[in-house]
């Protein structure tokens, strides 16, 4: 019996589990998946919770609903990987051996990395929306808020879903307009990047949306600390920005066990070949999704495109061939922009997000880098696709590698 071990049963790990459970011969392969939590969160939905669009019930399901039959599931944290021994030690003291390992343990926020962030104002006037606790606490705060300075701050890159902070301020503009207090809310978008987004053309177009929606952009701001007493964030070069409510995107890091295993970079992300998705230095370990150091966006769509490439390369490797499929860094993101509209971007390692049309058989085309109602429906529809198709490893009507069709240079 050959053993496939998957670490992490989030979006990426669950997709891989379903693909391989369908494909690999049960008489030849045993498949085991490990995760520390029993609940699956629909993380793209966290964004909507502070604005009362979704509540907690809309974004949670038991992980077991998405596990196929005939696989072993272990609920435990991970102590460390011993890659030279092909062995993983779990927090529950179990020792698992493997022939092939897929790492899909994602990224978590670390607000404690910034001085003062988790002091007395944490989850009182300072919130995150990358955890269910943070998103729910912020919803409670907004319900009773009478207005003031709303500051959204990105601590440092890379972060999971680099468009979510923009969506947050767009939705805040809509939410406070609906509640009749938009004139009392000063919305600021404070980022360490030189503009609204990571890539130049999208950055300029999205920057124009910020201006149009009366949201102030402060670029090149690298936060050093939070001054709780005076409700200010302070940058390394001593620029200060006051807030009444701070919505922070804290430092993102890979899981602690990565460090204990000696396998990560300074943020515990795992050095991974950006085309083959094999972990650098090993010929039987793959990594997928947010846990890698790939120069792509950390997002569910990226994990989905990677899953097709990883699947093909895995089948090559177990049959003794060189991995042939190449990931191009494809990302496809619906940006909710408020008032029932959305913006779509589609890009990869080498082609930045461009304007134009995005053809999609059966439903499309969608408009790229433009605000439309259709793009909003794309986002709404995606939650159904996520639970019913994507996690189960089924085909979606969209290619893994990016296409130039419809894009304007």
């Amino acid at each position: 019996m050959k053993k496939l071990l998957i670490l992490g049963a989030g979006t990426a790990g669950t997709m891989m589990l379903n693909k391989f459970a369908n494909e690999l011969d049960k008489n030849e392969w045993s498949i085991t998946i490990v995760d520390e939590y029993e609940i699956h969160y629909y993380q793209p939905g966290f964004l909507f919770i502070p604005f009362g669009i979704y509540n907690k019930k809309d974004v949670i399901k038991p992980k077991r609903d998405f596990f196929p039959t005939g696989v072993e599931v272990i609920i435990s944290g991970i102590e460390k990987i011993e890659p030279k021994e092909n062995r993983v030690l779990l927090k529950n003291n179990q020792v698992l051996t493997y022939d092939y390992l897929i790492i899909a343990t994602g990224t978590k926020i670390h607000p404690e990395e910034t001085e003062g962030m988790t002091n007395e104002l944490w989850h009182k006037n300072i919130f995150d929306f990358y955890t269910i606790e943070g998103a729910v606490a912020l919803a409670d705060f907004f319900r009773h808020w009478k207005g003031g300075k709303l500051v959204l701050n990105i601590t440092e890159m890379p972060i999971k879903c680099p468009v979510a902070p923009l969506e947050f301020v767009f939705l805040a503009d809509w939410y406070f307009t609906e509640h009749g207090i938009r004139d009392k809310v000063d919305i600021q978008f404070v980022t360490p990047l030189p503009g609204a987004f990571t890539k130049p053309k999208a950055s300029s177009i999205l920057g124009d949306f910020l201006t149009k929606k009366n949201i102030n952009l402060t670029p090149d701001f690298s936060i050093a600390r939070v001054d709780n007493e005076n409700k200010k964030i302070v940058s390394w070069d001593e620029t200060e920005i006051e807030f009444d409510v701070l919505v922070s995107i804290p430092t993102n890091m890979g899981d602690e066990y990565v460090k204990r295993s000696g396998m990560g970079d300074e943020l515990n992300f795992i050095p991974t070949d950006k085309e083959t998705l094999m972990v650098e230095g090993y010929n039987n370990i793959f990594a997928i999704g947010d846990c890698t150091n790939l120069p792509s966006s950390k997002a569910g769509s990226v994990a989905h495109f990677e899953s097709d490439i990883l699947f093909e390369n895995f089948m090559d490797v177990i049959e003794g061939r060189e991995p042939r499929a190449k990931f191009d860094g494809h990302a496809n993101c619906y940006i909710e922009s408020g008032f029932g509209k959305g913006i779509l971007i589609d890009f990869n390692y080498t082609t930045e997000p461009l304007p134009g049309k995005f053809p999609l058989p059966g439903v499309g085309p969608f408009s790229l880098l433009e605000e439309t109602k259709m793009n909003h429906y794309g986002k709404v529809m995606f939650r159904w696709m996520y639970w019913n198709l994507l996690l189960k490893g089924k085909e979606l009507p969209i290619e893994s590698n990016m296409s130039m069709a419809g894009k304007r240079l």
């Binding site: 680099p162 690298s222 390394w236 070069d237 792509s296 966006s297």
Partner: protein
Amino acid sequence: MSTIEIAGKTIELDADGNLANAADWSEDLARELAKIEGIEELTDRHWQVINYMRKVYEEDGGAPSIRKLTKESGVETKELYSLFPKGPAKKSARIAGLPKPKGCI
């Protein structure tokens, strides 16, 4: 791709505005590149960072992120920002003749 004129020489730049050819780099060129970034004089502390950047690049083939800089260069984050205002990793990489650090996605 663009070019700049420095001390009578034409230097090629990559899409991010960093040196296209590592072979063009010299300490004199670094002083000129620093001036373009608004740093009039490179002190010993600047050089400690620049030399560290070049060493990492030689070993890893990539410019280090700000976190790695803070951890390993011997210069703390606060001082890095005063030496290379706004973007220490980005600016010191440019002056050191290296491509933009990978962390700046």
